[in-house]
Chain length 343, copies 2
Amino acid sequence: MIKILLDAMGGDNAPAATCQGAVLALENDKELYLILTGRKAEIESELAKYKYDKTRLEIVDCPDVIGMNDIPTEAVKRKQSSLMAAYWMLKKEEDICALVTAGSTGATIVGGQLILGRIHGIKRPALCPAIPNNRGGVTLLCDCGANAECKPVMLCQFAILASAYAEAGFGIKEPKVGLLTNGTEEHKGDPLHQETYSYLSKMDGINFVGNVEGRDIMLSECDVVVADGFSGNIALKSIEGCGKLVLNTLKNELSAGLSSKIGYLFIRKAIKRMRAKLDFDKYGGALLLGLKKVVVKTHGSSKPSTVAASIANAASIYRGGLVQKVEKQLEGVDFNALIPEGT
Amino acid sequence: MIKILLDAMGGDNAPAATCQGAVLALENDKELYLILTGRKAEIESELAKYKYDKTRLEIVDCPDVIGMNDIPTEAVKRKQSSLMAAYWMLKKEEDICALVTAGSTGATIVGGQLILGRIHGIKRPALCPAIPNNRGGVTLLCDCGANAECKPVMLCQFAILASAYAEAGFGIKEPKVGLLTNGTEEHKGDPLHQETYSYLSKMDGINFVGNVEGRDIMLSECDVVVADGFSGNIALKSIEGCGKLVLNTLKNELSAGLSSKIGYLFIRKAIKRMRAKLDFDKYGGALLLGLKKVVVKTHGSSKPSTVAASIANAASIYRGGLVQKVEKQLEGVDFNALIPEGT
């Protein structure tokens, strides 16, 4: 049995989307046991719409909900909120293995650090989404916004965290790791990235392939792209914006004129296949890496299918032994010898 | 008569693409006079393939060509190279108004700074491409890689440079300016961007609308997005990579299966319209802003149509009075009062 917590009140469409997502997830994975935190009456009334295995779902009543505009460092104190109550349970109960939330990113990060805690030796947690690439697989972009300011040691640890995710979540052996900069040459970037390059080159257990550019996130052999949270976030959002504009433009042009409308009837399936290949939500949001247990932050506007995918991804990563892989990897690197203190 | 220099040897397809581009440009704009720098015999043999108005084209023989791997600070000394010879002419001859090159970006930037020189008061030149947006227009992203490390004063000046470009090149009055960060809230970003936010808010003559995210480059009301060259480059390349992956995936799916192939016959024109709307090369490469004259750096793999578009863009920006607009704008801002020395 794999026990996973779901913040049933997180996200714009909660609790409707989270409850339906939970039901979908239970259907797809018979080993799953879900604990939903949130306003019990609301959750029960949503769940009443579906048939599901009631022996594998429980609700923990939490009267409080953290909003998208609440200040994370304040929100973390609200123990009766669906998110923080979930974090406390995740910390205390050994048999619970993961948390999925579509709630506030800031509150999820702060709660993860202050309540659940980081893996011993890890300086900062990092957000890591799986981005579709030209090989029909995914590239893990780490960090994507948890840390606007980074030091080289953090970027080196992001390489470890995301490599462990690639292995635990996607079965990729010796994942290829690139460092996101403004050019592929060794000397590219600012001092932060130049220094990080030199440390990554010397680090054991990481398959570092050098500097990569923004285009290499989707179009290269890299399995992992390491980024400071500022530029990682810009890369991710730029990709989202471009994808949306291209697909909207295609949609508009396909509905303009009779010929296109007829053609569309023939290519509907091709468009569907294309959308499936480029679907960002296939793996349900970003992992919050570096914490003592698996935490998946899916986006606020998640649909039921995205919530279900996030739960399935959390289970798969737990089964793959993410945290143990990170710990093992950390044992093999002497950060104090590799990187001068404070860097 | 508008006199423009073309580095005929710059780019992967030179001098074939540059010569054909020159012929196209002359055809489209009867006021244009082109000076091609490069190996005269090679250029003449390319030009011999076309009919064009020989009274509006001259060749300046330059035996030397700067390669993509040459070190820019060394390359700038090679006065007989097609690029540096062009810069010297641009500097010395008052009636020449612009330079177009598909050569090395680094050499173009260094040549611009050391030979042509910056507009009085401008700290650093910046690369600024025009990116298609969801309003059917373009968003100017400045800087995109000329400056991997920036100070607030530079970012504030990028706002002035790109605003002047928006007005001179695209007739946009009071262009809306956003600052590229990892979130839209005022406090987002690292100290560089937080400080820049406060200065841009107080700066006269700039229509600053606040922080913007990567997705806002293509999907917002912004005409100008100001970025440090490191993250601006990452945004641009991420967009390029995503656009390429989406279009390739679409192409592959449309050629898979009989139904899609039939459908494609009906939607060919729609796809063509879509490609035209999303075409990055419509305006031919990036402007190198902040120099005493108009300099357009188009990408190394430019086709003849891109070279022609770059020449047309250079002429249009010159006609729009880019440099004068920048100078006027600079007069209105007391940078020493706004931003402490060294910041």
